[in-house]
């Protein structure tokens, strides 16, 4: 096993050990005074209302879906970035190396603009936005 693996293992060990150690330490040191207010869900100071199992606005999922898709697309940009400099040194012109990625991004942008225009990223129902994709006909 090479030394690189040893370093990685050490890093992982420390990464996991540190937070666990600190939580353990603080629980040992702090006084324990249980009361109702402490057990409540923290909502930035607001008093929570209702249960946790309520239905989210469907738009929430829309945004989540958009996120998933565009997030995965970044995975395709990554290899391109890594090889960009090597490719340039290999001989082809800047355009030849850049153009495919520009086309890729262009397509993504057209999609994003379309989704935007169709109200997929509007957070809440408003008078000006058409809710075609979600309305209950």
């Amino acid at each position: 096993m090479s030394t690189a693996w040893i370093a990685i293992s050490a890093m992982a060990l420390i990464g996991v050990g540190l937070p666990i150690g600190m939580i353990t330490l603080s629980s040992l040191l702090r006084p324990s005074v249980p009361e109702d207010g402490k057990r409540q869900t923290y909502e930035s100071g607001e008093i929570p209302t209702g249960g946790t199992r309520f239905r989210f606005n469907v738009q929430y999922y829309m945004v989540a879906l958009l996120f998933v898709i565009f997030d995965v697309e970044t995975a395709f940009i990554f290899p391109w970035v890594v090889t960009y400099r090597d490719a340039l040194e290999g001989g082809p012109s800047v355009v030849a190396v850049l153009a495919p990625m520009l086309a890729f991004l262009g397509i993504l942008i057209v999609g994003l603009v379309w989704a935007w225009r169709n109200g997929a990223v509007s957070w809440a129902r408003s008078e000006t936005t058409d809710w075609r994709s979600t309305q209950n006909q």
Binding site: V110, W114, R117, R132, Q137
Partner: protein, 518 residues
């Protein structure tokens, strides 16, 4: 001969690129006015784009792309062989473009009053792009990508009538089975990759036939024969993925429901273009990557036998089930399963030592089928537009109300049944002849029996529209321009295709020869 202009090589993908760009244009149009879409503009752009793609494809064909060097421009290979543009690819790009154009024109009337116009047309175009790319895919990577590009929009299209329970149910079934089969397909790809170490089809073939004990690219020690189990299972799983796309047994279950529930133009689109694209992949993958003898030597079985079995099972199940349907659209759906069985004969013949004729005949059948089947489903679209109902009995007596459309329907039905003066006859005839020459007597027999049976239910529909008394008075029926235009275009092509069979047969045979000898 037209000199091919000096475009970048990627331009050889012309038809696919044009379709994809048109999809983007439709997106832009729809983004400009998302709330009150201009239906005419969207449908027109779609139709224009597919016709342009058709034109580009025809131009390449005339320019001799794919014809070997001395006479033509040669096969164009792109991205290190991941995509190839040859005669087979162009042939199927044409089929896709034609069907897309017909569907776009017909949808103008059919989708009147529905929401999601922009989505509809752009999804159609994206799916068409996927199908056109499938035609050119020459690596298991591109095959899978193109397949998914064609499939994903199709799922959404089937379910696009969001308030119609049938449409949603159809979409769900199509999607779930599609996802399952694509998972199986990609698993098959991974196994083939494991066995051979490569994904490009010609390299796979090289690895299988070579037996050098070395990896074909890296030269590392790797013996394909030692991984015959992986390869065998992988091939079977690939077969399953392809069977899904072509709606063949045992993956035909989605087809009746998806076609019945989907908007009729989409059913036409899926059962013609999508199926044809599935076949081009089947042909490309199996003839290029898995040479029959070498593969049989490695894995022990001859895959063309599997295709022969599937062909007989598919045509029999499709036709028998079609014979007992009451719902016209569902009958057409099953008949479409039956026709997939006919086309599979082309692949079954590859191993039986047949020459290019059987495969060429299968290509011709797919070409003719694109017109007659699209036309038949478009008639159903027209009937749904009129709101006359879905069963045979509801179609009674339509001939008096809408004679032109019913003449077209008659043409489609008789052509599907394979009656001589129409396009469907000759391709079926050649399939039959070819399979007989290849010595596949059983398959040939099944073909004849099934054709005879199919005449029963096709003529039943003809009888209903012309001879039966209407159950209810249909009143006067509208004549929507777009639907009629698409219907008549398909009917004319179905008729014209027979006397003009020469060029089609030539290009189909050339494509078959090219793919078999490469």
């Amino acid at each position: 001969m037209i000199e091919p202009v000096q475009l970048p090589d990627a331009a050889a993908l012309g038809p696919a690129l044009v379709l994809g760009l048109t999809a983007l244009v439709v997106f832009v149009f729809d983004s400009a006015r998302p709330h009150e879409p201009d239906r005419g503009l969207l449908a027109g752009t779609t139709a224009a784009g597919s016709l342009l793609a058709l034109g580009v494809g025809v131009w390449y064909m005339i320019a001799g792309v794919g014809v070997p060097e001395p006479d033509g421009a040669g096969v164009i290979s792109l991205f290190d062989g991941q995509l190839v543009v040859d005669q087979l690819a162009l042939f199927f790009m044409l089929v896709t473009a034609i069907v897309t154009a017909l569907v776009a024109i017909a949808s103008y009337d059919y989708m009147d009053g529905h929401a999601h116009q922009g989505e509809y047309y752009s999804l159609v175009l994206l799916a068409a792009t996927g199908m056109a790319t499938m035609a050119a895919a020459n690596s298991l990577v591109t095959v899978f990508l193109a397949l998914e590009l064609a499939s994903l929009p199709s799922y959404a299209l089937v379910a696009i009538l969001k308030d119609n329970r049938g449409s949603v149910e159809a979409g769900l079934k199509y999607f779930l089975l599609g996802a399952l089969s694509s998972a199986i397909f990609v698993y098959g790809i991974s196994l083939v990759y494991g066995a051979t170490g490569v994904l490009q089809l010609d390299l796979v073939a090289e690895a299988i036939t070579g037996e050098t004990g070395q990896h074909v690219l890296t030269g590392n020690a790797h013996d394909v024969a030692g991984h015959d189990g992986l390869l065998g299972v992988g091939i079977v799983l690939l077969l399953v993925g392809i069977a899904f796309k072509t709606a063949s047994v045992p993956l035909h279950f989605w087809a009746p429901e998806a076609y019945e529930g989907a908007p009729a133009p989409i059913a036409a689109f899926l059962s013609s273009a999508s199926k044809a694209a599935g076949f081009v992949i089947a042909i490309r993958v199996f003839t290029t990557a898995f040479p029959v003898e070498a593969t049989a030597g490695l894995v022990g079985f001859d895959w063309s036998v599997a295709f022969a079995v599937l062909a007989v099972a598919t045509m029999t199940i499709g036709n028998f089930a079609a014979a007992v349907q009451e719902n016209v659209k569902r009958m057409l759906a099953y008949s479409s399963v039956g026709h997939a069985g006919y086309a599979l004969i082309g692949l079954a013949g590859v191993g039986a030592g047949a020459n290019e004729l059987v495969l060429g005949a299968a290509l011709m059948h797919l070409f003719v089928y694109a017109f007659m089947n699209t036309g038949a489903f478009l008639f159903v679209a027209l009937a749904e537009y009129w709101g006359v109902g879905r069963t045979f009995a509801d179609y009674n007596g339509l001939g008096r109300r809408a004679p032109i459309a019913c003449v077209a329907l008659t043409v489609f039905m008789f052509s599907l049944a394979g009656i001589p003066p129409l396009g469907g006859f000759l391709s079926k005839y050649l399939l039959f002849w070819g399979s007989l020459q290849a010595g596949m007597l059983f398959v040939a027999g099944a073909l004849v029996v099934n054709s005879a049976l199919s005449l029963y239910y096709y003529s039943r529909l003809v009888k209903a529209v012309w001879f039966e008394e209407p159950v209810t008075d249909h009143g006067s029926l509208a004549q929507p321009v777009g639907l009629y235009a698409a219907l008549i275009a398909a009917a004319v092509m179905t008729v014209v295709v027979l006397p003009g069979f020469g060029p089609i047969a030539d290009s189909a045979l050339d494509a078959a020869t090219a793919v078999l000898t490469s």
